[in-house]
Amino acid sequence: MIGLTDVVFRWRPGDVPTLDIPSFSVAAGERVFLEGPSGSGKTTLLNLLGGVAVPEKGSVRVDGTDLAQLASSARDRFRAEHIGFIFQMFNLVPYLSVEDNVVLPCRFSSVRRERASDQPHGLVGEAARLVSAMGLDLAEIGGRAVSALSVGQQQRVAAARALIGAPGLVIADEPTSALDTDSRTAFLDLLFKETTAIGATLVFVSHDRSLSGSFDRSVSLGDINRARPGSSGVAA
């Protein structure tokens, strides 16, 4: 699903490289725990995988496509179609309803919209199904402003958004760091269950090693990245 070869990235020419990854790959359907403390080039790697940034050298393949070969608008389309993201916090667009937030990727990818609409209850039904699959009661929270939801609820809505339309790859960046231990486990369980249900690959980035046990594989970004971006003072 993911294949990085000889990837070098620096923010500005002449800077110390932020990333220098000779090789890193993730198999389709695999659940990978990527340990990335701050300063390890985590943000940069996510931007490369999402096609928001391109490497100076090397190739970034996602689902067989070399992102560096695509034009920027094609990379944006690719991201919309193939990848669901969950971030640490403030994942939701404040002025949209829960439902609108969940179906947002379908507004930018027709493939995901069609996949979601093909579900038994249509696009809106699928959004509702995912929200309740993530353990939320849509009848209770549906009418509320998303900013009025608790952090845990917001993260579950964000997960539903990442999953809608069955993208091949789900990337979660510290999605549980703002949650307490119990909710953390519950959130992980639901995330695993749903990514498995849609057959998606999961890359879970965290600095909390205690979570790594339930994953197929655990990788430390420090091990695959030869660059030491933290020493250059670039925030990651």
């Binding site: 943000t43 996510l46 999402g50 608008s73 944006d76 919309a80 971030f87 939701l92 930018f108």
Partner: protein
Amino acid sequence: MSAPTIARLSVLSLLNRRLTAGLTVFAVAVSVFLVLAVEKVRTEARASFADTISGTDLIVGARSGAIQLLLYSVFRIGNATNTVSWRSYLDVAKRGDVAWTIPMSLGDSHKGFRVLGTSTAYFDHFRYGRRTPLALAEGRRFDDVFDAVLGAEVARTLGYRLGQSIVISHGIGSGGLVGHDDKPFVVVGILERTGTPVDRTVHVSLEGIEAIHIDWRKGAKVPGMTITADEVREMDLTPATITAIMVGLKSRLGIFRAQREISRYRREPLSAILPGVALEELWGLTRVAETALGIVTVFVVAAGLLGMMTMVFASLGERRREMAILRSVGARPTHIMGLFVAESATLTVVGTALGTAFLYQAILAGRPFVEAEFGLFLPISPPTETDLKILGAIVVAGTAAGLPPALLAYRRSLADGMTVRT
């Protein structure tokens, strides 16, 4: 695919910021209202001036500038510097190419309204607007020496009915004038509203004007000389002088010849003007003021749009995270840019619509006042082509005002990617 999404997002985002968005829209609306109101008053004032007189080929008065003659004879603004002798009037009226004449004698007033001494030819030949003749709402034309026919506005403002006795004052103004109170007039007719200075005029016969001045010399009553109203009826009331003459020709083809010949009249220095040409001259004078006013309104709109731009710029910081989220779900940087341009466009369009609504509200509310104070009738009419051009230009300018913040958002979202680096 994404254009409706972007439009919808921008509208929802604005609704989420109702207060600031609402104030911005209001500021734009006020500036739009101002532009439209200035334009409206300008065009209506012109139309109203142009509608004040029609069908009159020449106006003849004592030698003076064309604008001055036009202003005092037609618009009752200012005063004549000199008079026209009755003999000159007869010579003009006798010309072979003249179809009709209206003698006009101005210089007296009644409670701030001008008094016009004229003949019944006034009711037969005077035309305004689209060659509309005067019509009586009540009563009849003047016939007796002391009959008066009121303009609609005079009757309304002073609450006069037929049979009302009125005293004419010597001179023009509203206070401290000496009255011809020994010879009161009686209201015998009230004219239909015309939307012209006629509405603000008291009409009497030339003989009436002569009668009230018969025992006056040089603007003051002659001491010891008292002639009663009844005695005066027996006297010869042909005036010695009048103020101006409206002339209708048999054929408009001879208009310039007639003008030339009257202007060269040997016995007395006279001026003959074409009302339309004199109006054009007047517009030439007012154009500078109009241009200045136009420039001011342009700056007011610019200020409104700058305020909007400030508001959009100010929102950029707090919306950085929102931009990153949109990028993560597949929005392109151009979508982010579109979001901000759409936002400015929406604010401007709503502001423009609201400003237009303000204008019609203001016309409805302010019409009686403007009409009473300035004699200007403001009709409720659909926006003119010029109005639409102005509105279109404002919408274009407002959308363009969204570009600088949109470009900044574009550059930031390129740099931020999907995560805000703080």
